[in-house]
Amino acid sequence: MAPLGPAEKVLVSENFLETDHGEVECENCHGGNPAEKTKEAAHKDFDAHPSINNPEKACGECHEEIVATAKDSLHATLSTFITVLKSRSDMNKWHEIDEARKGHCFSCHTSCGGCHVSRPKFAKKGFIDGHNFQKRSDPFNQCTACHGSRVGHEYYGTRGQGDVHVAKYDMDCVSCHEAKEMHAAAPADLKGRYHLPEMVNCEDCHKGLENGSVREHSNHIGKVQCQICHSQTYVNCYSCHTGKDAEGLRYFQNQKETEGMKIALNYDKEEPNQTAKYILVRHEPSDLEVFDFYVKDAFTNFGNTPTWKRTSPHNIQRKTWQTANCNNCHGNRDLFLDKKDLLDYEIQANSKAIVPDNKVPKKKDKTMPINIDTSKVRTGMVVDAEWLHNNLAAVKVIDARSAADYEKGHIEGAVSLDPLKAGLRYSWEEENPMQLVADDVLVKIFGDHGLKADDHIVVYEKDGRNSGFLIWMLDYAGATNVSYLKGAIEGWHEAGYHVTTEKTVPTATTFGGKINAATVVDNNYVKANLDNNKVVVVDTRVIQQAKGLSKHAEAKRAGRIPGSVNLPLGALYMDNGALKTPVELLWMLKKYGITPDKTIVTTCNTGQLAGSAYFMLRYLGFDDVRVHNESWISWCAAN
């Protein structure tokens, strides 16, 4: 979501004046003094958010029935935050706790305007269409402007494959979350958002599945929440701490975020429409000390409410790793919440959710084989922290994070080389922007960083994607032995190894090597092979770009290469550089028709994501992988 300019934020469209809302005088909703001659005087007592501050007057005069409930909706009141906080709190300290809640938790609320006219306050406001009112909320400017880091990323494929409801059926947020749910009043003591009677359920659309053609539905419906089988991994947050910095600005800090999946016992069968025995749970960032800045020992009743809470990831797929084979869940102890997954202070809170060994479904003796050949996986292309620690002296380590992150602490001996800033690609001002620079320049940059083509080079960064991107460029330049650090810098920390702030100054050398030109293709190659069924063009951009719903800022238009398969890069990588198993990745790729017997051309907007995908496909044993270096920005300008 590109930021709006200051004028764009408040520019009223001429079209608006022809609409029903254009028949209402501005000051009726917003106050102010239109007769005044100066900006300051005209805006005295002006209310930029009338639907938040006075919904009954601003919206309720015409939409009385809707406002009567919507003013108390979860979006407006966030009432369940209060319920949960109260359940954990020492109520003698509620005044201080509530002040912290208002300053932090409550900053996300919105009302009519934030869903129908402008970007929500949390998303820095501004009209999304010249003050024209939209009956249907905009998924990008409104819904995911707030629900972005989890829901938006999951739904549109920044994390994972994205959601089938949009990828196949073009459904946006309000396709499921209809007005009756969004406008529903949330009782003040609502236990959790899933307790809202109007909350949408899968079964509202998917009716009668237990009598359908999928045998597993009849075995599982009523026992497990739909998302257990049909969602992908999702992010869990730990230990959020809040406070104000030296300038008095509020902040929050999450100690850790991990991508994973956990099944728990249903600890709350009072939820409407949810009586399953097993539910999917996500770790929420709550912590005993979350409000310590404001008041100490606030949560004396922390054990009253689970920290692993029911979740409904927005990354649904018909076929997932859980549906690929019964024993991907059955007998898989790691998938079920265990006491060892909990921190000491949260054991009591989650006691009803823990799945004891005897409640983990038993492994099935007979299952359908998955039939994925992993014999070609290039295991040497991935190393873990322990291996790297033991072999530091024998390898060249590259830190592919930003220079600022490198300065804060890096693996000892690592050389900083940010692939986005090191001059490996032409700038936006040059001809062929974002494409690889001339071969001699490229290899010189690598040589200047002390690298030789026949070194064993290990690349790491924060989440792995830029490591993959750099590995492709090294491969192109002729490097013969490059590895990816599994778990990235966080994996290094978790393994207990130290970092240093002492900068490693590389000794410049000659890179050598032979350019591997076959790893790059141009627009002409892609165009010539659009109908070649032995060539698969894999569009690694997020779903909304591949569908033409949005575009890269530098692209002339939105759209995709005809016949390309959209597999968002997030499907191949996990947060923090973690990796899914090769068999799981290969199984998932097969679902998209991406198999090692074909030539795979990866593409995106600028070549960056395509390069990252190149590494992963090579690691998985694909022989013929090529990066469409020109990518969409050049393609759409030329075609």
Partner: protein
Amino acid sequence: MRKWQTRCLQGAFITILAAGLVPFIGAGKTYAAESSCIQCHTDEDMLEENLSAVIAKGSAMTSGAG
């Protein structure tokens, strides 16, 4: 005669009342388009010239997903 007089009085009353209401015709319906707010808020060039970005300052200490 009396009937005629009553009718004249009623007619005069209605005429005076109607004449008194003439200035208020249309006054109940004012459009946003007639508001002086609109003169500025539809003028892109003027807004560009007179508005500058207000950078909402966030703490550098904030981290992670919201």
